[in-house]
């Protein structure tokens, strides 16, 4: 053995074939990152509008290849032997991440400039995190998924502690970081067990090995459970949600919106890819685990949200509960029923898109309102309709949509979730549907409480002077509200988009 240690490798190295069209969104984001660093270091004024514009344009530019890939004839493009796959699912999710990143830039523009924070690095890290998410959407390999998760998480840990002069900012960032690293370690251990048993990192190969003899071994179950636990943390599923409220309250509000939407969606994308490409051979393990996670997440998130008096904390728990709704279809995965499987992917992608739009919009209103009130307390929202009627109506649209009232987009999306769960037709599926129905009612209670406060209650200090909302925030609200209303009234196009967003499982 020792003699061969320094021997030259026998296999010849073959240069990997790169499909630059498929890689273009990531390449554009990386070029944006490089430009951001250079521009930030040579610009004389610390507060300029160059960087937010650069970050926003970079993300919009990355959308162009996503669109050209979507209209090209290839259903899916595989790189690196199938560990990086660009298919309809990954394109729709990439588009979601890029739009969410762009809206976050719009939300941040005035908040960060007026708050005397480090501006250049803020946008740099935001784009880096979005690049990680776009990478995650195409990663079909354990190593790629792990690297993508870290690339999207580590900038997010740092952004969450951006308000470092406040106690809550440091506390929130620290909790997020420590819990996140802990979850990463657990997940990595699970992945190493799966790799040790199968000898493969590609999810397709892992899936085949799980159908074989490895699938029946206890070590496979431990590996699957530990890997999924890591992503349960990422989507803040109960009992891995402890970090969410403190982090959401302590982080800059635009970052709270970003974490509750994009970061959470990235966790779901990873879960969908892992379960549908890799772990389908052990759906008897995934089903009960997801059932417990989804049920607990909905109940705990909703019940605690009822008691919140701070709007940001209310939305923190609301987003925990919403994660439970998105997890619910995974509780009925059945490997032998393709119709149920495609229904699950379709409903989850549709709900992720809907949830991203309505939550980003709601946070845009929260940022606009707290620009005047300077606090997140719910009392300060009293009589919003009397001094900012447009904001109140916009917020009501998002709240109705989150609660699932027709004709908003949230209603259609939530209906699809119920449909996907019930179509499985098992006893546990009906139980899950009942749990979802109960939780929809509970969630309506706190969404409507906020609506009543805005429209019925009087302003706390009798101050009815109108407020001025900066242009980027108006743009963010306009984009999200338009889609929420239009796609709610005309659900066809978005549903078709979600329906076509199938994973390229074969191969």
């Amino acid at each position: 053995m020792p003699a061969s240690l320094l021997a030259v490798t026998t296999e010849t190295y073959s240069t990997p074939v790169l499909d630059w069209h498929a890689l273009a969104p990531l390449v554009i984001l990386m070029v944006t990152l490089g430009l951001a660093i250079i521009v930030d270091s040579i610009s004389a004024r610390r507060t300029s509008t160059v960087l937010p514009n650069l970050a926003g344009l970079g993300m919009l530019a990355a959308l162009i290849p996503v669109l050209t890939l979507a209209i090209s004839d290839d259903r899916s493009r595989e790189l690196f032997g199938g560990s990086f796959v660009v298919d309809r699912f990954s394109l729709l999710m990439s588009a979601l991440f890029l739009v969410a990143g762009y809206v976050t830039v719009l939300l941040s523009t005035n908040y960060i400039a007026e708050g005397d924070y480090h501006e250049g690095e803020y946008y740099f890290l935001l784009v880096a995190s979005v690049a990680g998410m776009v990478f995650m959407a195409s990663a079909r390999d354990l190593i790629s998924i792990f690297v993508a998760l870290e690339l999207l998480s580590i900038p997010a840990y740092l952004l969450a502690s951006w308000r470092k002069r406040t106690q809550t900012g440091i506390e929130g960032g620290m909790k997020y970081y420590l819990m996140g690293v802990f979850a990463s370690a657990i997940m990595l251990y699970g992945m190493s067990l799966i790799f040790g048993g199968t000898g493969h990192t590609r999810l397709v190969d892992v899936g085949e090995a799980l159908h074989g003899s490895f699938g029946s071994e206890p070590i496979a179950v431990i590996g699957i459970v530990l890997t999924l636990v890591g992503f349960a943390f990422k989507v803040s599923a109960v009992p891995f949600h402890n970090w969410a409220p403190d982090t959401y309250e302590g982080a800059p509000t635009p970052i709270t919106a970003f974490l509750s939407v994009a970061s959470k969606a990235a966790g779901f994308v990873a879960l969908i890819q892992l379960i549908f490409v890799g772990f389908l051979g052990r759906d008897d393990v995934v089903r009960p685990m997801m059932f417990i996670l989804a049920a607990l997440t909905m109940f705990v998130g909703n019940v605690i949200a009822l008691r919140q008096t701070n709007v940001v904390r209310l939305f923190a728990y609301s987003s925990v509960a919403q994660a439970g709704f998105i997890l619910a279809p995974l509780a009925v995965v059945a490997a032998d029923d393709p119709a149920v499987l495609s229904g699950i992917v379709e409903s989850m992608t549709l709900y992720l898109v809907a949830y991203a739009l309505m939550n980003l919009g709601a946070f845009a209103v929260i940022i606009a309102v707290s620009r005047r009130t300077g606090t997140g307390e719910m009392d300060s929202w009293g009589g919003l309709f009397s001094w900012a009627p447009a904001l109140a109506v916009t917020m009501a649209i998002f709240l109705f949509s989150l609660g699932g009232i027709p004709p908003m987009l949230g209603w259609n999306a939530k209906f699809r979730l119920f449909d996907a769960v019930v179509s499985a037709g098992t006893a546990s599926a009906y139980t899950m549907a009942v749990i979802m129905a109960i939780n929809t009612v509970i969630s309506m209670a706190y969404y409507l409480t906020l609506v009543r406060r805005m429209f019925v209650d009087d302003a706390p200090d009798g101050d009815h002077t109108p407020i001025k909302v900066p242009v980027p925030l108006v743009a963010a609200m306009a984009i999200t509200a338009t889609v929420v209303v239009v796609a709610g009234v005309i659900p066809g196009p978005l549903s078709d988009l979600a329906q076509s967003a199938t994973l390229a499982i074969a191969g």
Partner: protein
Amino acid sequence: MIAVLAAAAQNADAPVYVAQNVAFGIIAALMVFSAIRVVTTANVVHAAAYLVMVLAGAAAQFILLGAEFVAITQVMVYIGAVVVLFLFGIMLTKAPMRGEEFARRDQWLAGLFTSVVLFGVLIYGLLDGFGRSKIPQDLQPTLTGEVSDSIFGTYLLAFEAISLLLLAAAVGAIVVSKRD
């Protein structure tokens, strides 16, 4: 440990590298002892020193398995960087050298219960999955050249993403730790 030896004795007739398997057992025993000392010793600096033992043991096991690149990486990254960082952290923050009793009794019990259950489940799974595996006689070492081929072949994109990740982490860490 005993279970590993028992499993090894079970199919003793299979062709194996005896010396490597014996060395594996000795190093594993040293690692377990050091790992227990890391958490039981009262002195933080001693704990870091025991951690070096554990990590060096892991590096030695990688050598036994013919994974030279991983072994060298283990020494350079973990012993060379991470433990040194620990020691610098301990010295620069003027942390008390002696540990304090901070865990309450109910936390302690819950922690004990969780770790015992987790330990049992993992040991059962690992023994069931890999308990009968031994270092085979015809073990071929993984050449560093092959590792680099796969890094710049199959995992090229992940490798590029890691370089981006390190840049982002460095930029963010400077901002967050800067005094202003």
